[in-house]
């Protein structure tokens, strides 16, 4: 289903003209070289092959060729795999120091060509054989390849088969027929690229294989010119590849596209800056192959140049003149036609003397005409919101800042008017960006307003201070007023600090927000301990201590006067026990006060209390009995 839809898309895409819009620039080549460079540490044979072949395609000299050659030769010993033979022999070929065939390697290669081998194995064997100068039985290879394709007819397998076919002498029509099978499996991206599922290496492998096979069998491949261009577009979109394997495949395919008998895509690119202005009035167009090489002297025509906004055509059917200083670059003076500023679509075609060139007609390029602008008639000031008095406007000229600070409060409006004039035509003009940026100087908080034009193309900006309290957050203070004038087609976009403005909002209107500590250090908290209560002076406490002890003293003195005695003390155990017990209980209370806790105290009290209780009981009953006797 999906593939069907893609084919339909591809057919629709034929009608619109395509041309590679980029090529391998010197910067790209330098970057690709950097990707390949680590291989010269000579640790991996595959990397060395990618780097040697890549450098050859880039036209770069290989550092320490002899050392690399020795490394490649030393990696081939008896009993190595066919893959190693393939890598070493191909690297040797790229380096210019071919590996010589040994009896064991010839045997290994011919053994690898058997029915049941995958097309990748066959590709390795056949390439190794051709690099080593070993003759192969073409019919046998062909049979093995057919078998491999029967087993696995994926795009990758087909790609290897094409390479095998390209290296065989003799009739390879059966493989050639399969090119079409591969090409229809390509997926279209954005209507301008074709790729095979699996990305760069598979796409590049299939493409280089198909073209090589076509050259070998002297028949044009079943690839339409626009398909070739779309494949080329895909390759160019992948030029930022970072893997050395990818770089190798990319360069193989790009080199193939610059040098084959059927299709050479032409890259028509802008050589000058996209912007054209009075200082640089020329539009320059570069016509090259994908590697950036000149295609010789060509006749380059500008079919049309149309302004995108209003479809005004300023150029039609004009030849571009070659630039003498740079080969393959053609130029056209645009500014002499007095174009308005804006974007223009330039359609360029190249007359192809060489039938191989594809993608050379109706290449679309975009350039823009820049003009300078001038900000004039700038007036800024304030007015009362009820319009009771005339506005008080002051003139400012670019690039000066108004010397005085404007003052406005919630009863006033702030006004600004200015004209943006195109210096080329002298007429007022509209620009894309005409913003007024008002920045609070202390907090750096910025508020941006859009200035609007009236019928006479005069820009106006007018805010009522009380209505725009929300934008300003109700924060009073000094604000700087800056004007931003910008447009894609002006040469002097401007950021101009034109005045300072002191705004006053009513105090109550600015609510104080609770401080946000989400990502900040919070203020420390120290606990405030309760201060001890005020205490009376020691004189007071001592006086009262004495007063408290006095009653006991008085009791003792009076008892002494009365002649108190304990002569009735019965000499019994219970009497002693009771009084000692009572004294111990009181002593226990003192200990409780000093260091005992409640439960220890209660335990002791319980023990002493029982003794005291019973002895007290005995003593009191004996006293009572004695009294009764006496009475």
């Amino acid at each position: 289903m999906r593939r069907g839809a893609l084919v339909i898309l591809a057919l629709l895409g034929v009608s619109s003209a395509l041309s590679p819009s980029t090529y391998l620039t010197p910067g790209d080549k330098e970057r690709l070289k950097l990707v390949l460079e680590p291989a010269w540490s000579l640790s991996d044979l595959a990397q060395v092959l990618y780097a040697s072949a890549g450098y050859k395609h880039l036209g770069q000299p290989i550092p320490n060729v002899q050392g690399v050659c020795n490394f490649v030769k030393s990696s081939v010993s008896d009993g190595v795999t066919v893959e190693t033979l393939f890598l070493a022999s191909s690297a040797g070929k790229a380096l210019g120091c071919p590996i010589e065939a040994s009896a064991s390697s010839v045997q290994a290669v011919s053994e690898a060509i058997r029915e049941g081998a995958s097309s990748q194995e066959l590709f390795h064997a056949v390439t190794a054989a051709s690099n080593l100068g070993v003759d192969l039985d073409a019919a046998k290879v062909l049979r093995a390849t057919q078998m491999a394709l029967k087993k696995d007819d994926s795009v990758l397998s087909l790609g290897y088969a094409f390479h095998v076919g390209a290296q065989l002498r003799g009739e390879v029509g059966s493989i050639f027929e399969r090119i079409e099978d591969a090409v229809v499996q390509a997926d279209e991206v954005d209507g301008r690229m074709l790729q095979f599922e699996g990305g760069l290496s598979i796409t590049a492998l299939v493409l280089s294989g198909a073209y090589k096979l076509a050259e070998a069998s002297n028949k044009a491949p079943p690839i339409k010119p626009d398909q070739a261009v779309k494949f080329a577009n895909y390759l160019m979109s992948r030029k930022s590849v970072q893997m050395s394997k990818g770089v190798y495949y990319l360069l193989e395919a790009v080199s193939m596209f610059t040098n084959n008998k059927f299709h050479v895509p032409v890259a028509i690119t802008l050589a000058s800056n996209v912007a054209v202005s009075a200082e640089a009035p020329q539009v320059q167009v570069r016509v090259t192959d994908l590697k950036g090489n000149s295609l010789g002297s060509l006749k380059v025509t500008a079919n049309s140049a149309t302004r995108e906004s209003d479809e005004v055509v300023i150029i039609s059917k004009e030849a571009l003149t070659p630039v003498s200083s740079a080969e393959g670059v053609y130029e056209l003076d645009v500014m002499s036609r007095g174009p308005d500023r804006g974007f223009y679509r330039l359609v360029v075609s190249v007359d192809a003397p060489d039938a191989r060139l594809v993608g050379h007609t109706a290449a679309q390029l975009t350039f823009k005409v820049l003009t300078a602008i001038d900000i004039q008639g700038v007036e800024i000031g304030t007015a009362d919101s009820d319009q009771s008095t005339a506005p008080n406007l002051k003139k400012v000229t670019y690039p000066n800042t108004l010397a005085e600070v404007l003052v406005a409060d919630q009863h006033q409006r702030v006004m600004l008017r200015f004209v943006v004039r195109d210096t080329a035509s002298g007429r007022p003009t509209e620009v894309h960006q005409a913003f007024v940026k008002i920045t609070h100087i202390d907090s750096k908080r910025e508020i941006i307003f859009v200035a609007e034009t009236d019928a006479n193309d005069i820009y106006k900006f007018d805010i009522d201070v009380s209505n725009s309290m929300k934008e300003f957050g109700g924060v009073s203070g000094v604000y700087s007023v800056e004007l931003i004038i910008g447009d894609a087609s002006i040469s002097n976009p401007t950021l101009w600090h034109l005045a300072d403005l002191s705004l006053t909002f009513p105090e109550a209107a600015s609510p104080t927000q609770p401080q946000d500590y989400t990502y900040k250090v919070r203020p420390e908290i120290k606990h405030v301990f309760r201060s001890p209560d005020q205490r009376p002076s020691s004189v007071v406490s001592r006086t009262f201590t004495v007063l408290c002890v006095l009653p006991l003293l008085m009791l003792l003195i009076m008892w002494a006067k009365l002649g108190v005695n304990v002569a009735n003390f019965p000499i019994t155990l219970s009497a002693f026990a009771f009084h000692v017990g009572l004294a111990v209980i009181l002593g226990l209370f003192c200990l409780f006060w000093l260091h005992l806790d409640m439960f220890t105290t209660l335990r002791y009290l319980f023990m002493i209390g029982i003794v005291t209780f019973f002895s007290g009981n005995t003593m009191l009953s004996s006293i009572a009995a004695k009294r009764k006797e006496n009475a």
Binding site: V274, I448, R522, L582
Partner: protein, 443 residues
């Protein structure tokens, strides 16, 4: 011969241990799912993806509408991280949807999303869920004063000054003056949302609008209020980065040189460095803190008591580590605070750091008893939220711990003792007094 079975048993155990070690190693690798529009993205963004692989991510690159997509199996997440480099996807394939991705974030997964000018509604809906709004379809960030020389003429290839980067080395790496290349849509966030961080602000002169249409309405995003890259660190520490530009992460932008209209030129854009730092951050390789141990005790002791008494002198220690290059290293900072909380914090003090990651603080327990918590809440831009609370009870003095022999209480002491002496003497006299014979006579 007898050693045979024993030997085999030992090898069996060893084998099992090895297996266990392999399992642990496999679990340590981070699984990252990369969703793309076309597999070509794998090649156009190869530097970014390669750096992830080099840092130990197991990458699974899939087309975003692949019908076999799933984030979890049997209730367990298959991936820790999700990269969505598919601005054009109209509908996710398989079991993936905006809801499942939001659940994935709620479950602690990290997400990196890149949009573009033409981002589909699905991606817009997804980023809205994390508090970021992408500007309308077709609107591009434009800046006529900060664009790169390779711009196609519309001034949409922004060379954003690095001064717009968030002031957090953890998130965006060490600061330098190299501008960042950006082409895409602008992001709008709610400035009052503290969880969304402005990773890269647009320059003051930038705005977001369709470059081919005249400005008739006020642009949705202008100046520094517009973000180019935004980040969210949710309350569960899951991280999400949203960029309005897929190309921001591309090989082309990372390898590109920058030339500003003011004439400054740089050999390489700042993208490579920032993309690397930002991806480390979003995938929890940077800015991750953990609490290793907590210790609290009286200042002259080393073991925590059952309960503290009011006005005790207490020492609290917490050990914090930070993940650096995959290993935990002591964390040192001057702004770690400890709170002693009973509903409200009673004490909040900054702790003293030491080189082994141990933060300590000494303080006096407040004179209010109750159930308290030692609380450390460390929340800084770029770091995971650190939270630790330890509950302890604080009791009042026992009766023995109060002050004794207070001078002004002497009258009370004196009266109590005099009463006790009085009782003792009186009982003695009352019970055993013998009337003198003369007195009896007088009666």
């Amino acid at each position: 011969m007898e050693l045979g079975p024993l030997g085999s048993k030992v090898t069996g155990v060893m084998l099992r241990l090895c297996l266990l070690a392999v399992c642990v190693a496999a679990a340590a690798a981070t699984n990252t799912l990369v969703l793309v529009d076309t597999l070509a993205t794998r090649e156009t963004h190869s530097i970014f993806l390669k750096s992830l692989q080099e840092r130990g991510h197991e990458l699974t690159v899939k087309v975003a509408d692949d019908p076999s997509l799933q984030l979890s199996r049997y209730g367990e997440y298959l991936y820790q991280n999700l990269v969505i480099f598919a601005p054009g996807v109209e509908e996710f394939g398989g079991a993936l949807s905006v809801e499942t991705i939001v659940e994935f974030i709620d479950g602690g997964g990290n997400v990196l999303v890149a949009g573009s000018r033409e981002a589909a509604d699905l991606i817009r809906e997804l980023v809205t869920e994390v508090g970021v709004e992408m500007d309308e379809e077709g609107a591009a960030v434009i800046d006529h004063l900060h664009y790169d020389a390779n711009d196609d003429g519309q001034h949409t290839l922004i060379a954003a000054p690095s001064s717009g980067l968030i002031d957090s080395e953890v998130m965006v790496g060490a600061r330098d003056a190299i501008p960042l290349l950006y082409r895409g849509t602008g992001l709008i966030t709610d400035a009052d949302n503290p969880l969304v961080l402005p990773v890269l602000r647009a320059p003051s002169t930038a705005y977001c609008y369709s470059p081919t249409q005249a400005i008739t309405d006020y642009p949705h995003a202008t100046g520094q209020n517009m973000l180019l890259v935004a980040a969210l660190q949710a309350r569960n520490n899951a991280r999400v980065v949203v960029s309005g530009s897929l190309e921001f992460f591309s090989d082309a932008f990372i390898m590109a040189s920058v030339q500003t209209p003011q004439g400054a030129s740089y050999e390489r854009s700042g993208n490579g460095r920032v993309v690397e730092a930002l991806s480390r951050w979003v995938f929890m390789e940077e800015g991750v803190l953990r609490v290793v141990s907590i210790d609290h005790h009286l200042q002259d002791q080393s073991e925590p008591p059952v309960a503290y008494t009011i006005k005790d002198d207490v020492e609290y220690k917490i050990k914090v580590e930070r993940l650096v290059e995959g290993t935990w290293k002591p964390y040192v900072a001057n702004d770690m605070q400890m709170e002693f909380v009973r509903i409200d914090p009673f004490v909040r003090l900054t702790m003293t750091p030491s080189s082994n990651g141990l933060f300590s603080v000494k303080f006096k327990v407040p004179d209010v008893y109750g159930v308290y918590q030692f609380k450390v809440e460390y929340n800084r831009v770029g770091f995971t939220r650190l939270y630790s609370s330890t509950q302890v009870s604080v009791r009042p003095f026992t009766h023995l711990q109060y002050e004794r022999f207070i001078e002004c209480a002497y009258p009370y002491y004196a009266s109590a003792f005099s009463m006790m002496v009085g009782v003792f003497l009186f009982s003695l006299v009352f019970l055993h007094h013998k009337e003198s014979p003369s007195k009896t006579k007088a009666d």
